[in-house]
Subunit: 337 residues, 2 copies
DNA sequence: GCTGGCACTCGGCACCGCTGAGTGCCAGCC
DNA sequence: GGCTGGCACTCAGCGGTGCCGAGTGCCAGC
């Protein structure tokens, strides 16, 4: 692939992203000093089109990038755009004063949506090495109780259970024993250990313990990061006109936690920013969108993933820079507190 | 106001809601057997227009209801539509198997959105008579701890605090004292009591206790119902075309918890369903929408509010029926468990 | 007070032709 | 061989025109 053709492709992508209109050969040579005539550019464009990087919406219109074109742009042509001072400031002031884990996630979503002007998705963080700090069983009414697990990362899991006719002191003992057995373990270790706890209990406690342990097993087995928060939905306006065809499927996808988790999940393996463009996306209704995601955490210890969803026609360099910056900052923020 | 004119207004509203198109005099006499000629209907329509109940988008078009017209319809003309058997079944199966309070709210939002085909908003329930069941302080790292309050309604409040250099047994004592002082009290009572707790503590605990009590004060004072969950956003497609002008402001409003709380809050005084139509709405960007809301709870004990937002052109009778039914059901469900 | 008849209005639609942006191709030049 | 200017061609978009039909207001008559 010719240097000049690459330069032309880059110019087409940047122009189209900023103008939202197909770009023609003349506009191209005028706005970027390509040092060749429009005719030459046309020849190159014909080749680029043949190879599938750009396409014409209709004859007598300029060219727009295809998904393949954006892919090449992202992989080889995009120049890293450093964040502006204002953006850096925004990041640090935005997160200051977070009240709890929920609040951190909420602020992160807002921040990301504001920086990128896209729809932001943030997965709740989970520290796989986090250990259980405390297990609490609270009787709410004659029939119901609440099992609560607090982990060293500050995460709280709760589960409502049916628990009838248990004496106060029995509950105290059960609580003490469960705590003694589980505190300091990771979720995975606790999962192994829980069976043993049941065997060691005095028979009087067997009934209630069964229920409590069953709830704990469920809680330990459930992936605690299997939740996401979404924000910046009004930014979907950037998709332009076709509401019914383009925006509706996106809105529907955004309500499906499972879909969003899969979307982010695929990015979480890589430490750096991952970009999925249009059809590269495994989820069909989102194939007219691009997803930019990044894992966050401290060094090799990945906690979760965050990212944005937007039109394929987006400013990849700055979006990628923002996502990367927010991911890094949140990782550090959560580590330091 | 004439009986026939009322019948005509009712016919206009129902036809317009189902067809989305201005309705003319001829269509009116054909579809509803009004026993008069189109000319007569036209005369009545002219009067209705003069009085502000209906309007013409342009000359030579049919009439559409104004906000005032919808208001009259809702107040005097709407016949209560009983829920279908399928809808009733949906309500009870939807809620079965809820795991915790969050899950109840999540399911309620889904249910409401599905039944009404509108955007659903549900405020987290709060039982003012709920009492504190347990207070927990968990040290997460050398510098940070988590204060957790569990209430008898199953609600959990958490707060991250800075807490350095506290010994394990000091924390145990602090925890015990706080629990002894607060368990069994309502949030309001706890607020009064907290000052006293501080005074009774041994001086060694004063430092950490200050921080913990400050967090508790904040948590007790904060309105725990000041959170809402939103769902069914894809139903905004029902607004029809004008995306930029109509849908965007709604999307923006939906991200503002404060706005939503105010929106629901105004309905919470009344026990029955409240309807705000178009300009009746205090929040300007939502003045092209209608809000149908209802408080939920057990009898006189109101816990919170839920409702839907949709275009003024909505099927009020069935929407109101659905909102009322869901509110009643959720109230009972939460009471019984 | 209701009704049929009639003139009037006007949005929507199809049709038309023009314009201009943009292309592909080709012959000629460096 | 690659670049360039020139030229014919295509076609979306736009404004203008004319027609159709839905719907209205008004009026005279029952």
């Amino acid at each position: 692939m010719d240097d000049r053709k690459l330069a032309i492709l880059r110019a087409i992508v940047t122009d189209y992203v900023s103008s939202r209109e197909p770009v023609g050969s003349r506009a191209l040579v005028e706005r970027h000093n390509l040092q060749v005539s429009p005719a030459t550019v046309r020849n190159d464009m014909a080749v680029l089109e043949e190879e599938g990087y750009i396409t014409q919406p209709h004859t007598s219109a300029g060219r727009i990038p295809t998904d393949k074109g954006y892919r090449l742009f992202v992989d080889r042509l995009a120049q890293v755009k450093p964040l502006s001072a204002a953006e850096k400031r925004a990041i640090s002031t935005f997160m200051a004063g977070a009240l709890d884990l929920d609040d951190v996630v909420r602020r992160t979503v807002r921040l990301l949506a504001q920086l990128t002007q896209q729809v932001a998705i943030v997965q709740y963080p989970v520290v796989s090495r986090a250990t259980i700090r405390h297990v609490e069983v609270v009787q709410l009414s004659d029939e119901r109780a609440l099992v609560i697990v607090v982990s060293s990362s500050g995460r709280i899991e709760q589960r409502l259970i049916e628990l009838a006719g248990v004496l106060e002191n029995e509950l105290d003992e059960l609580r003490a024993r469960v705590n003694a057995a589980l505190v300091g373990l990771t979720a995975a270790q606790a999962l192994d250990r829980l069976g043993g706890v049941l065997d060691e209990l005095p028979p009087a406690l067997a009934g209630p313990a069964d229920v409590v342990v069953a709830a704990l097993l469920e809680m330990m087995a459930a992936d605690p990061s299997a939740r996401v928060m979404v924000g910046g939905v009004p930014n979907l306006t950037r998709f332009g006109d076709q509401f019914e065809t383009t925006v509706k499927p996106v809105l529907e996808a955004l309500e499906e936690q499972v879909v969003l988790l899969r979307l982010l999940g695929e990015a979480s393996s890589s430490v750096d920013v991952t970009v999925r463009i249009g059809h590269e996306n495994p989820y069909e209704p989102l194939q007219s969108t691009s997803v930019v995601a990044a894992a966050y955490g401290l060094d090799a210890d990945v906690w979760a993933t965050l990212g944005i969803v937007g039109p394929t026609r987006m400013d990849y360099p700055s979006t990628m820079a923002s996502v990367r910056a927010v991911a890094r900052y949140v990782g550090r923020f959560l580590a330091e507190g």
